[in-house]
Symmetry: C2
Subunit: 458 residues, 2 copies
């Protein structure tokens, strides 16, 4: 049953024909991401193909006070796609064109529905790559909307640092560009950064211009085992504090390695592990490797296992990217629940110790992994979403992790976003600054139709 | 003559005693920056010593609709300090405490009035530095407010990338913190980036938390001469496009070298010059130097002249930082007018050619310099501010430069900010996005008391 005003339904059907749908299964798919959050389904789905179509859709919905929710690849982990007040899910997956690549300026512009794997496949022949890599094959629009990052952020930064400008449809239906192509600018308010991380609550991103990088001359990857997670974390902290420009430095606890081995058909040693990737010139990589090897040894790390052949390296990182799915697949009919705190690196070891204490006696299968070079780590739980006791158990652990992270200067979410899942922590983290966020939200979207119920407490 | 409401004058005088002043010379000093803009003086100056005092001041002024203008080191180049509607200049120079340094997390928090040279002097013993370096010894609050950068931005980024969080006094007098100390966060709107570059028009920054870096093991600097500016620029573009991580790559045309030699008592070869600095390990620097040397040779560059002893290097960069003053000092009673466009690197050579054409026949002494690794360059003119014909001549050249930069995807200001000087170009550059900036401004500062007449067209 769709609750859309009949006149709007008619208008959309005649304008978008079979790209407008109220089919139950499609709506259900569009009302959920990849995690445990209870889905709530939109009243209809429209597959948009141009920025102008998105603008028309928003204009039509605004006139009727109908919510709009942008949908990219559906890989949200914090309930961003939940249609808490119904409305239209605007599916941007058909807007996936790579509009422009400049090898000279190391940048490109893509439609918001293009995915990171698609972009990198497109760039490979030109010797270029786009480094931001959340585990999922997310859309660039979705990644910009949640201020995503991933394993490469320790060296290349997050979407915050790598988006140069955006095309955005505002709640009025007006289309703006938030910037040009210069590497830096002091010309007015930073609208690009305002929309990066705004989760569709201020406007809908339809084009994304991002920085690109040359594929490094030398890429080298290695795994290193430790007796304990704490040892591994302390080694990682030392690497960060010495400023060694590692490209990736990922923690995988032994539980995760086990899950990954099963899911990706690997035979990694089942120990607490750091996975490294080094980018640079041959001499530069050699130098990084030697420095890291010495640190690792000092912290009780056991011998490096190298994965230098591209196919071996790709297998390793693909397995790491699939870690979320690997943990979830350990249990039939489970859903994933990934915590996502990020703390100052000096606090990371204490946080992980605290987290491991919290996990003692936890009845839900869980594994720890993290982009430890940034102070960002996750516990992935494989929960039974039909079991309220389990949901409550994980929620309690998650709450303690978040509160502890905030108490040491950290954040409730390093890269997944607020969605519905972290709303309860926003004021705890930001205090009165939340009121300013609400002022901005209300000024830009006075009707509250842009992805309602996300980011800001009610 | 102060136009302040007498009751406010009384309140401020009794609250701040001799830190409240309506002395003419002091007000004149606070109504101008370092460039050609016609000063307009505030009604009074208050020297604030704490965030709470700033909050009280703003609250008192807001109640009477009296404008407030933050004043740091007074080094603005685009008229940010001009009291176009009178009001109170809040001088933050006494709020210069370094509040906290964490060598472990590579970050620190300072009061907004601390200057970059003061901070670096404080950090040196710990082997740390803060890389953002506009020519002037600006305050960190001012640098955040204008989204400043400087010679190191090609490697270390600008204030946009290096501010972790801020304490800000809002137009209501409320004090907020825009973030924690985690390296990344997806928890809500990016208020930090909203205030970075907002030039005091949304609130007054009172504390700044920034990233720090370890002083590199090896630092090496070199000058290289070219037959023409175009050759030098093309060499610089090639260095950027190959992704060589130079720390600094600065263009100085022969006119500038002449001025710098005279001002800083140096004997640099009077030719179009690129100045480089390389940071890294000994092997890493060696590698960068070899790659750059090969590129420079391909582009007709003549032999490197090294400045590796710290005192020699410091002299070189001090001279470069004083370039603005060097050009201005060529002419008695002149004022500086610095253009400040930034373009995609692929467009830089064309822009410089165009600029040199515009400068042919210019009657005002001028020199070209630039952070060419970012596509950001300046023409510094030494104008006679009492001669309207000269002001008109430079304004016409500046206008053409800005319009050309925008036409190739660039920006009207790479690092100096909008102030009053670039307002006329904002809509040309951003189109309808300016309306969104105005919506944000009006929502946060409905009375329009925060540094009025800056950034947004009237």
């Amino acid at each position: 049953m769709s609750a859309l005003p009949p006149a709007l339904t008619e208008t959309l059907r005649s304008r978008f024909e079979d790209r407008f749908s109220i089919a139950q299964a499609l709506r259900e798919q569009h009302g959920r991401g990849e995690s445990h959050h209870t889905p709530e389904i939109p009243d209809a789905v429209v597959f948009a193909e141009t920025t102008e179509e998105v603008a028309d859709l928003v204009r039509l919905c605004a006139a009727e006070n109908v919510p709009v929710i942008a949908y990219g690849a559906g890989t949200s982990l914090e309930g961003h796609l939940t249609a808490v007040r119904g409305g239209i899910s605007i599916d941007l997956s058909r807007m996936s064109e790579i509009l422009r690549v400049s090898a000279e300026d190391l940048d490109c512009t893509v439609q918001a529905g293009a995915t990171r794997e698609q972009l990198n496949a497109h760039l490979r022949d030109q010797g270029l790559f786009f480094p931001i890599d959340p585990g999922a094959n997310a859309s660039l629009g979705g990644m910009a909307s949640t201020r995503a990052s991933g394993t490469n952020a320790v060296r290349y930064g997050t979407m915050r640092e790598n988006v140069l400008s955006l095309a955005v449809v505002l709640p009025t239906g007006q289309v703006i560009r938030t910037g040009g192509r210069a590497r830096k600018s002091s010309a007015g308010y930073d609208l690009t950064r305002l929309f990066v991380g705004s989760e569709g609550t201020l406007g809908i991103i339809t084009e994304v211009t991002v920085r690109l990088y040359g594929i490094p001359d030398t890429i080298s990857a290695a795994l290193c085992s430790f007796e304990s997670v704490e040892q591994a974390v302390n080694a990682a902290i030392a690497v960060v504090q010495l400023g060694i420009p590692v490209a990736r430095m990922e923690l995988m606890d032994r539980g995760l390695i086990k899950a990954v081995n099963a899911y990706s058909n690997l035979a990694l040693k089942i120990e607490d592990t750091l996975a490294f990737e080094f980018h640079g010139s041959p001499a530069g990589v050699q130098e990084q490797v030697e420095m890291v090897a010495a640190i690792v040894e000092d912290h009780g790390g056991k011998d490096f296992e190298w994965a230098n052949a591209p196919e071996e390296r790709n297998r390793l990182w693909k397995a790491r990217h699939n870690a979320f799915y690997a943990v979830v697949s350990q249990r039939p009919n489970a859903k994933g629940w990934s915590s996502d705190v990020c703390v100052p690196v000096s606090q990371l070891s204490g946080c992980i110790v605290k987290t491991r204490e919290l996990l003692q006696g936890c009845t839900v299968p869980a594994a720890i992994l993290g982009h430890v070079g940034d102070g960002n780590y996750h516990v992935v739980f494989a929960v039974d979403p039909t079991n309220p006791r389990e949901i409550e158990e994980v929620a309690a652990i998650n709450k303690k992790m978040v509160e502890y992270a905030i108490s040491v200067g950290g954040t409730s979410t390093g890269e997944h976003g607020v969605g519905t899942g972290k709303i309860a922590y926003l004021r705890h983290e930001h205090g009165d600054a939340v009121d300013l966020m609400a002022v901005i939200k209300h000024a830009i979207d006075p009707k509250g139709i842009m992805n309602p119920g996300k980011i800001l407490p009610g």
